[in-house]
């Protein structure tokens, strides 16, 4: 099974990367942008999708400071 894990900083925790991007966009002329957050994308093939949650808690994310979201994808070729 193909899976995608999205990891993002928890709400309320300062996200310097997001701030940097948010400040850079107006400099390029893109106005009206707010609440930018930069996270991490992990894509993987797993035999047992039920193990994904534990993978996230133990390695792919740091639950103290990051939220994660698991998406199961179609087995596209």
């Amino acid at each position: 099974m193909r899976a995608r894990v999205l990891v993002r900083p928890k709400a309320g925790i300062l996200d310097p990367q997001g701030v940097a991007v948010e400040q850079a966009l107006p400099a390029l002329g893109f106005g009206g942008v707010a609440n930018v957050h930069v996270g991490r994308l992990v894509e993987l093939d797993v035999d047992d999708p039920a193990s994904l949650d534990e993978m996230c808690r133990r390695l792919l994310a740091n639950p103290l400071v990051e939220d994660y979201e698991i998406q199961l994808l179609d087995d596209a070729p």
């Binding site: 300062l14 310097p16 990367q17 701030v19 940097a20 390695l59 792919l60 740091n62 103290l64 400071v65």
Partner: protein, 224 residues
């Protein structure tokens, strides 16, 4: 007293940590694949970029065989010191509370910082004078100490905050100016600044030696 200084792929401060530890006792480098700590009294998890900081700083190194032994040693009361990336590794391994986040100012920063010694009655700070300030270098891009407010309250109430940045030197935005924290049992300590780079007058301050001298006093005191 014998100190094992761990070495991961991507470590870069292990030589200075080794030299600093040798000023107060015997010390050896210890490759991370080697599970046997050979009776070391103290383990130093050094600074650098273990595993290239892939995923998150310290996230991969915590699973190395030597770290499994470090977790065991810590459980038995052995002394463990994590510096910079080593602090990140100890937090990821669950030996210390909290996490290190990207610096608030977004930049890698290298500067000398003044640290307030909060307590001098611990295995890591007993060679310091009460109220003493230590001048040591700090250099990192992921050094912003973070823990939830209730954890920070508990750390302060329990006397687990051993070092704070001078408020004008807290360049990374660490919560409550925290530069170094100890576990509740008092035998595991991590800090972002680098005491091992401040042990020789030829490179400036020798204040970092206090941390290593404290470890020696703790080990010798335990044997006496």
């Amino acid at each position: 007293m014998r100190t094992a200084v761990l070495q991961f792929p991507g470590s870069c401060d292990e030589r200075d940590a080794l030299a600093a530890a040798r000023l107060v006792g015997d010390a050896d480098l210890h490759w991370h694949r080697d599970r046997d700590l050979r009776g070391a009294d103290v383990v130093v998890v050094p600074g650098g970029f273990s595993y290239g900081d892939y995923l998150r700083a310290g996230a991969i190194a915590r699973f190395s065989p030597a770290m499994e032994s470090v977790v065991e040693l810590a459980g038995e009361g052995g002394l463990v010191l994590g510096i910079c990336n080593g602090f990140q590794v100890l937090c990821e391994a669950g030996l210390l509370p909290g996490a290190l986040l990207p610096n608030a100012g977004r930049r890698f920063t290298f500067r000398q910082v003044d640290l307030e010694v909060v307590r001098t009655d611990t295995a890591f700070t007993s060679a310091c004078e009460p109220g003493e300030r230590l001048s040591v270098p700090a250099k990192h891009s992921w050094g912003r100490y973070y823990a939830p407010e209730e954890t920070l309250d508990a750390l302060e109430a329990g006397g687990q905050v051993l070092l704070r940045y001078d408020s004008a030197h807290n360049f990374n935005g660490s919560l409550r100016d925290i530069a170094g924290v100890m576990n509740a049992a008092g035998n595991v300590f991590g800090l972002m600044p680098h005491p091992e780079h401040a042990v020789d007058a030829r490179t400036g301050s020798t204040d970092g030696l206090r941390i290593f001298e404290s470890l020696r006093l703790a080990v010798e005191g335990a044997r006496a």
